[in-house]
Subunit: 433 residues, 2 copies
């Protein structure tokens, strides 16, 4: 049974705090093991990567077989049904079009004092993309991680994907081909992160590593941060659906289950202003669970982490949404824009009754890599900005330096930084000596 | 003596790699101590903060005295020389004007399939700003950290500044007033970071913590990351000056020393195409060192970490710059734009002979909080973006869901995610059941 909260209950404040404070992630203590793997790969390069691949992925390879060849990708592509390739192409084109609109503009202007100022965006030189293997090998994740890098202008994209026992989902390779990623290695785990961060004889190092992974991958990303950039550390998926009684309970039930089926640690929450509707959704969830291929996972997630919150009216939902700061927010109400305007914290907002969250996972265009665990309070989904960095530009001539330089000299002297002051004063011929 | 490298030396590749690999930061092992402090503040709140303040800042205070009052700020303001307040106001106004141009624009459009897509930026609700006390209490840092938050639209800014032995630089409080920061606490160290992240009876928790600090503060920021957002972990300051022989060697020497005087771990590098000019700069450095108030610090930095690289021509500088990825890059050459166009990695670029780096530290307008330790390869200086987050917006109606929904169903089924497929299919009345 999911939690059931009512804002009119005297215990609501405590119940809601308990919901917010729930720890769903069981972080395995893998830091020491990961540290050892990173150091070993740093020291022994390919040889260490090959050893760990044999141990963890049950696969004996040599350095020549670390990379997946173009011929292997060709063969994978040939094995994929045409309609799926078509869907991947459509998804890729839509993701590309949306992300192209997020490319930031450069700035270059001369202000009223004659100082030229600017901001210049450039892509990172090389990005590494981690793609989980096994059950979680999703071709859609390849698109969502690689396309923003491409749109940002990243020249070199290196993808790693473990192939436990030699198996790989051909759609994952097809997705890589569609994104133009042609440097692919059949490695995974902390050893793959180490190879991307430090480089080996076969794998040249990258500047930024993105992509989801298990506890070892997450720990490895945290540990190499500083040597390279990383994206967020993704936690279990979440959805918050705000729905009034005018919705079909089965639609809303399907939406709640679309997150629940990801992972037993996932969390689905319904906020509604109608207690009867809440019960109808709960009943629809139970009916659908019986029919779903991943029904067992979804049931455990829903019964352990799910929640239904009944409010007096939907206007009361906004502050609750901001506190929950959900990864995915669905507003299945008459005027979703009005409610969205009052919300500050959400990774992605799905507006209206005909926008199920799953449409955003595949083909809408925006990224499906989004902030979890309340981090939408301060962070954003993956985008081209994660693959670019900004240099500020400053140019003075003698005149403009004279206009503003005196203030710099004063402040530098007040901070006791004599060389700072001198470097300005000496150019204006006002240095003491 | 600084390192001296020549690109024409056979040993240059190794020498340059050694320069890049230099570890300047001595990271104290403070993680366990910091962890204990964080847990204690989380558990005991104000009482723990007060205990650590007594121990580390030699200052007995009670909960009522944690906050610095408006009257105390008034008194500090009255104690500041007028010309310095004027300089702070000018700096603040210029920083405000520049950062206002970096505020990102929202996106909201309907594409050719009828799907409405968008991206909406909102400020974080509350930001915490750490300002170091003692020697490193720089009013300019208050401006550089607080103003981007204000421009981003952050409603609540809480500043913490340790006041060891009760002392505080009145200019730091004046700078806070000028930025409109009126919530200030006289606390520092890991205990202040904990108070901002978890909240206490007196300090409400924030969503994001920024600002430089010592090893304890840096470790505390790393540890609370996830509970709140953090900015970068700043390392020792760096400057790379590219200068031809047409420069006055003393100007360039002053620029190199303006970073060296920050910290013995700071690094100043000169790249020039003229060996004779290199020697003249080195001589000018030695002459200036004798006169500078922080000459001892600057001398140790220059002699331990400084470097001069002589190239055949300045075109050879671009790849070296990208490898070094300096925090500050000065291009004191005839055509700085041409060289800047070939550079990808630099936190800030100072163009031309009349743009000493120090002008950017105070009054140019761009931020002086910039990526160090080669992280300009993948990260950017502090800006309004650090205090904002983006929600993506997606809205389908029945028609547009019908246009793209089939692809989502196909891909969801291929990934084995039945509820994802169902949530789309059920709305299009194409679900199997």
């Amino acid at each position: 049974m999911p939690f059931r909260l009512d804002v009119n209950d005297p215990s609501f404040p405590q119940d809601f705090q308990a919901l917010l404070g729930m720890k769903r992630e069981t972080t395995a203590e893998v830091n020491d093991a990961v540290h050892a793997i990173l150091q070993d790969v740093r020291l022994r390069g390919d040889a260490a990567v090959i050893d760990y691949t044999a141990r963890f992925d049950r696969m004996t390879i040599d350095a020549e077989r670390l990379a997946i060849t173009a011929e292997e990708v060709d063969a994978a592509l040939a094995a994929c049904p045409h309609h799926l390739l078509d869907s991947l192409e459509t998804a890729a084109e839509r993701i590309r079009a949306y992300h192209a609109k997020l490319v930031p503009e450069d700035l270059d202007y001369v202000d009223e004092t004659g100082v030229r100022l600017g901001a210049r965006w450039r892509p990172v030189a090389a990005a590494g993309i981690y793609v989980p293997g096994g059950l979680a090998a999703y071709p859609s994740s390849v698109l969502m991680n690689a396309i923003p890098a491409r749109v940002a202008g990243v020249k070199r994209i290196a993808m790693v994907v473990p192939t436990p026992g030699g198996e790989i989902n051909p759609l994952v390779l097809a997705a890589a081909r569609i994104c133009g990623v042609d440097e692919i290695y059949r490695i995974g785990g902390a050893q793959a992160v180490a190879a991307l961060a430090y480089g080996t004889e076969t794998v040249a190092p990258v500047d930024k590593i993105v992509g989801p992974g298990n506890a070892y991958v997450a720990a490895a990303k945290r540990q190499v941060f500083g040597t390279v950039g990383i994206d967020m550390i993704a936690g279990p998926s979440e959805i918050l659906v705000v729905a009034d009684a005018a919705n079909d309970p089965r639609w809303i039930a399907a939406d709640l289950l679309s997150q629940a089926e990801h992972d037993t640690a996932a969390q689905s929450i319904l906020i509604t202003d109608d207690a009867g509707f809440a019960s109808r959704v709960a009943q629809a969830v139970d009916e659908l669970l019986a029919k779903l291929p991943r029904g067992n996972i979804a049931a455990e997630s829903w019964n352990t982490n799910g929640a239904i919150i009944v409010t007096g009216d939907l206007a009361q939902a906004a502050p609750l949404i901001d506190s929950i700061a959900p990864e995915h927010l669905e507003l299945a109400v008459d005027d979703p824009d009005a409610l969205a305007a009052r919300v500050n914290n959400a990774g992605a907002i799905f507006l209206g009754r005909y926008t199920p969250e799953a449409i955003g996972d595949y083909v809408a265009g925006p990224n499906h890599v989004l902030p979890t665990a309340r981090s939408a309070r301060y962070s954003s989904g993956l985008s081209v900005l994660d693959f670019m960095k900004r240099s500020s530009l400053i140019a003075c001539d003698e005149n403009s330096l004279r206009v503003i330089g005196g203030h710099a000299i004063s402040l530098a002297e007040a901070e006791g930084l004599g060389a700072h002051a001198l470097s300005v004063a000496i150019r204006l011929d006002v240095a003491d000596d």
